[in-house]
Amino acid sequence: MRILKYLPFLLCIYTSIYAQEGILKIDRSLKTSIRLKEIKILKTESLKMDHLDIDINSKEWDVIQLGENAGESINSIDGIFWLFTEIHLSDLKRFEKKLTIKLINIGLANEIFWDNKMIGKKGSIGKYDEIDTQRIQIVDIPFDYESPGYHRLLIKVFNDKRKNFSLTSEIVIGFHEFFNERELERQIEKRYMRIFFMAVLFAAALYNLVLFFGFGRNTVYLFFSLYCLAHSRKTYFMPFKMFENFGEAFISGNIYIIFLMYLLANISLLAYLIIKFSFHKTHKVISTLILLLPAIALIAPENLHLELVHYVIIKILPFIIVLYALYRKKEHSLFILVGLALASILTVLDIVGQLWNGDTLGVLFFVICISILSSKEIATQNRKHREAVLRTARLENELLKRNIQPHFILNTLTSLQELVEQSPKKATKLIQALAEEFQLFSKVSGEKLISISDELKICNAHLRIMEFRKDTKYVLSTQGIKGTEKIPPGIFHTLIENGTTHGYASKKNGQFILTKESRKRLTRYILFNDSENEDIQEVMKKGTGLKYIETRLEESFPGLWKLTAQRVDNGWKVVIDIYEN
């Protein structure tokens, strides 16, 4: 990975900077640069106080340590303050290169004086809204002033009260070439890396958005797209080191965008995980937690610790969700857990300063994991879709076959043959009834769900045919049926067909009653039939009819139906329960 390239480079920078105590002495031993370990600090009230008015011998000067916690000391002062140190230059002739002062992470407006002469500045002192976001200031020490002996470095700093972020401020003196070349190289490389990360994340966001629109508007993809987009935007505004350099972003106002994006990303991630694993009971609890997160985030910028708490919460919550999913044996939970864990390791490496931009790399890694998963899912989804299409086609076929079963047609034709020869008027009626059933079937055969009134029409047409054939009077009545209820085509027809075929060996009257009962979270259809067949279970099991009904119900109400058939007084009944989702 490209990032590994930076590790030796970063180590090189750190080893080349060594600290000096007291007055900094620069001589021929300087190879690249030297870092100030401490500096004097003085708070002044007046905004207009000139550098010439500063008494460098005043006893009010405090000494602060630069480096690790310097930012806290510097930023905790409101308004104007001064930083001062003396530097001793010797063995001048050996300085063939220009000397440069480098200010790192003094995220405040300032003016830099070398022996009372201003050599550099950042932002505008006193103007609250004109703050330069430049993180590193490099100021050349004019050649004329590089005379041997003691020199004064005085920095006027203006703090505009936005003081909430810790800085690691450093002041380094070294050769102009060293700073410029290395720094430039580093900055450019980092910038390119940043653009690369952003582009990859943005592409992932687009990819998931396409998946969202392309695959049945599955919100899982929408949330993951948001996750990628938020991280892409966050990366753009992000300072180069997590936590350490928030000051810079804070000064430019980007911190709010970063927070917003960070929040959006994490909420999207949580939403993604919750929808992905489709929890039922926990759904509401976790959703509420997500809503609470913005509240935590709103408090966060006021206090670093709360921000840390917030950070921990939104980093840990996904783990809790995924671990719970793993416990519930949800599909892909282990894969996501591994992705999340490895991504978190990269983030932690970033926080402890071991891996530059590790947080973004972690996100990138996670995005790749999820993208692989999404692709796999889509492949599965496609396969399932194809299977469903095939199944629907098969069912449509089956429905038609149920109606035009060869023996049904052949038997009907035989009856018809007799009628044609013996009673042509009745023959016409039978042909009409047969045609009606066929017309109705061809109308609904392509549908997954049809209205009960259509189904009842088919049933009645079928009963008319069977009346001719069996010389039995069949009556189909309904109770509680509105007619608009949707059911898969042919299910009651199949049951009625079973009834007429098996049920009436000696009876000359047949009764079918279809009842609908609406219960709590449940719609129940009961088909009663006063047939004399004893072994209804056997009949139901034997024929392909039951299989057809079950497949149709499963297609339209997956996992939400129940079918029972039983012998009751004076006949048998089939109960179909359809549960609400």
Partner: protein, 233 residues
């Protein structure tokens, strides 16, 4: 001739009855229509009949059980069914004919003609011969039959393993439904030609067949040519 029709659809039963009457005319002495398997079963073995016309699917029930019993009877069985896919299976159990629904008078006539033509063989070979033995149904594999001997109105089936079973059908009726390798060699014998070991002349145009079980059966003079043709094939 007494004919029993087993059919659950009244219109179809009417049609069969009507056509049978028209075809058999005065030959028909009685015609009975049953609409369920139980009723039919009861009737078949209680009363003497000559022909059974059976539908294979009665009130959704498989008529094959009844078929297996029916073919063990003394009468011939003709299937009239829409389940033409089961025709071969029905023939394997030894039905005389299979008439697919719907059917014309001509087709019905053809089926009934098979009753009279005692020499013609079925298109599809019979595989099983059902025998009723002490109230139970016994299915004998046709290829295990050595020869069949006439015993009055019954037949005695002698199997290759030496066992013998009595069948209610006469030799004439069995001959029609048995495969072509079964030849009526004598007025009292039907022989499985695959079991013939030797065909010898005793002189004076008297011939005998020696079967694999060393049985020696007489051959009728008029069957000589036919048997010779069979054996040289």
């Amino acid at each position: 001739m007494i004919v029993v029709i087993v059919e659950d659809e009244p219109l179809v039963a009417n049609r069969i009855e009507r056509l049978i009457k028209a075809i058999l005319k005065e030959k028909l002495t009685k015609i009975i229509v049953k609409n369920s398997l139980q009723e039919a079963m009861h009737y078949l073995f209680e009363y003497p009949i000559d022909l059974l016309l059976l539908d294979l699917n009665l009130h959704g029930k498989d008529g094959f059980e009844l078929l297996k019993h029916a073919v063990s009877g003394s009468f011939h069985t003709i299937i009239i069914s829409a389940h033409i896919d089961r025709a071969i299976e029905a023939f394997e159990y030894g039905v005389l004919d299979f008439v697919g629904k719907p059917f014309t008078k001509e087709r019905m006539k053809k089926a009934l003609l098979r009753l009279e033509n005692v020499e013609a063989k079925n298109t599809y070979p019979t595989k099983y011969i059902a025998v009723r033995k002490s109230g139970k149904l016994l299915l004998l594999e046709v290829e295990k039959i050595n020869y069949i001997k006439g015993a009055g109105i019954y037949s005695e089936i002698i199997l290759k393993d030496g066992r013998s079973e009595l069948h209610d059908k006469s030799l004439n009726k069995l001959n029609v439904i048995l495969p072509s390798n079964f030849v009526r060699t004598h007025k009292s014998y039907i022989v499985n030609m695959q079991c013939v070991k030797n065909f010898s002349s005793l002189g004076g145009s008297k011939y005998t067949l020696e079967l694999s079980g060393n049985e020696i059966l007489p051959v009728s003079r008029i069957k000589y040519q036919e048997i010779k043709k069979h054996l040289t094939r």
